[in-house]
Symmetry: C2
Subunit: 207 residues, 2 copies
Amino acid sequence: KIPEATIIRLSVYSRYLTQLDKKGIVNISSGEIAEGVGGSPAQVRKDLAYFGEFGTRGVGYNVRDLNQHIIRILGLNKGWKVVIVGAGNLGSALTQYKGFRERGFEVVAVFDNDVNKIGLTLNGVPIFPITKLREVVKEQEARIGIIAVPSKYAQDVADHLVESGVKAILNFAPSVISVPENVELRNVDLAVNLEILTFNLALKKNY
Amino acid sequence: KIPEATIIRLSVYSRYLTQLDKKGIVNISSGEIAEGVGGSPAQVRKDLAYFGEFGTRGVGYNVRDLNQHIIRILGLNKGWKVVIVGAGNLGSALTQYKGFRERGFEVVAVFDNDVNKIGLTLNGVPIFPITKLREVVKEQEARIGIIAVPSKYAQDVADHLVESGVKAILNFAPSVISVPENVELRNVDLAVNLEILTFNLALKKNY
Ligand SMILES: NC(=O)c1ccc[n+]([C@@H]2O[C@H](COP(=O)([O-])OP(=O)(O)OC[C@H]3O[C@@H](n4cnc5c(N)ncnc54)[C@H](O)[C@@H]3O)[C@@H](O)[C@H]2O)c1
Ligand SMILES: NC(=O)c1ccc[n+]([C@@H]2O[C@H](COP(=O)([O-])OP(=O)(O)OC[C@H]3O[C@@H](n4cnc5c(N)ncnc54)[C@H](O)[C@@H]3O)[C@@H](O)[C@H]2O)c1
């Protein structure tokens, strides 16, 4: 099994290689990649080794080829259509975020059950009533759903998303939800990120 | 070194114990904790064992005592004052998020360099000009800074935050930044969370 930390670093390498490609840089060494993203050359080589042989000893890697490889490994060689449920503070920030599109994720629709929000658009993306979720997911061939509703509705929304046919769910509500085996689930808890910081501060008695 | 996954689970255990305490539940077993948060009893015991002996064999754990222990381990036994730099889409969603306050994090000020935003308030939290960062951090005794500005300004803002005296930084800009040894840094890249999902889908050839 490939460590999650490796997948996260691959994404960072890819972002860096994309920048270099734009600057016209053709070849790069593992040392130069490590310098650019703040890691070690050995870590770069180890991460890439999970996926086969890349680059030539002494010459390094071809920037464009390596980036294409990583993009394929991350499943980003095709675009992904995303729907967001919950057009509140977080949902609307995510809908308007240009960074997703740069990585190949297109938010095609947002859903809510608040009549004051339905019918509006966020950065051109329409807000539909939650009752239209199944229809829009099918029509748009959306594969990924993002949950941005309060915790007490998160499981219910997850069930809706699974029924509508999405293959993966990113859940921002701080509650434990469950999905069938064949659906990928990832939970993001922003408050926990702060708690990891305070844990480290408490450990170092550094207030 | 304590694995990060353990710290994340501690936070989830604490949230669950808080819910149980509110319902008046006095004792609980590692099996019941595992059931409530979706894990295994052995994992619960292993996580807690990093921090000493809790609970009594056969009786289980006292809900309130265990929760107090975990809260102290996570450094949450005191409140933390937080400042956010960037009052855009993400910064304003984070400022208005009630979930941070529940865990003991109070956003006391937001900073921006856009004259149209300075002087406004978000949910009662004032938006100051970035030039006032040092003064407000000192006055409010803020210890944590959150970066919610575009990538190209992230390092500059990090330097400002370090100079102003914060002890920990949570960075949402998808760029590699560096801070001195004595400052805790954590990067959150929301797009990478989607890429982990697509990596897993590509692995399972499940589109
Ligand atoms: N705002 C943040 O920065 C932030 C940070 C971390 C986590 N979260 C989590 O993200 C979620 C959303 O937070 P928020 O701050 O955007 O809340 P919010 O109250 O601003 O927005 C929630 C939205 O969900 C809609 N909604 C509620 N139930 C629904 C349902 N069954 N179907 C469709 N829509 C429904 C509401 O009408 C509302 O528009 C919460 O679970 C929160 O804990 C938010
Ligand atoms: N919106 C999202 O959902 C989201 C998701 C993931 C990551 N991010 C990241 O979070 C950051 C903020 O994103 P956003 O969508 O809120 O962008 P935004 O453009 O809506 O907001 C950025 C804010 O930062 C302010 N700003 C710029 N430079 C500044 C400086 N030097 N000092 C103080 N303020 C400054 C701007 O005036 C603006 O108000 C970006 O790095 C983005 O990549 C955002």
